[in-house]
């Protein structure tokens, strides 16, 4: 128990000290090579949604028909 408290305080000490220097990396990136505007995004998301929801939704909607086709 005391060992856990000691380890916890030892690890938290630098942060609690208040005089630490935070190091940050300067991350830069270039603009996109193939930008995708709002219309293209809608088309892409729409088609992917239809690919997932379409056929499976159609099958689920006709389940009663398949059961009745006995």
């Amino acid at each position: 128990m005391s060992g856990i408290l000691r380890t916890g305080f030892r690890r938290a000490a630098p942060a609690l000290r208040g005089h630490t220097i935070t190091q940050t990396a300067n991350i830069r990136s270039k603009p996109a090579k193939a930008p995708i505007n709002a219309v293209e995004t809608t088309i892409g998301l729409g088609m992917l949604s239809l690919a997932i929801l379409g056929p499976s939704g159609w099958i689920l909607a006709h389940l009663e028909d398949y059961k009745k086709k006995d």
Partner: protein, 63 residues
């Protein structure tokens, strides 16, 4: 000193390989045309997701 040696190694590796390397070239599909990529993704993910539903339909229609 190590930086220069590493640079020499990576330059010679690119010159030696006959495969395209770098972003967009390390995958088994092409990202050259975004609409063809969309089509490929629709077929790939759509077929995989729909298959179990087709199986269920087949099983219900069988009995």
């Amino acid at each position: 000193m190590f930086g220069q040696a590493v640079r020499r190694f990576t330059t010679s590796a690119v010159r030696r390989s006959h495969y395209a390397e770098g972003p967009g070239n390390n995958m088994p599909f092409s990202v050259e045309n975004k609409w063809r990529l969309l089509g490929m993704m629709v077929v790939f993910f759509g077929s995989a997701f729909t298959f179990p539903f087709i199986v269920v339909r087949h099983q219900i229609l069988k009995k």
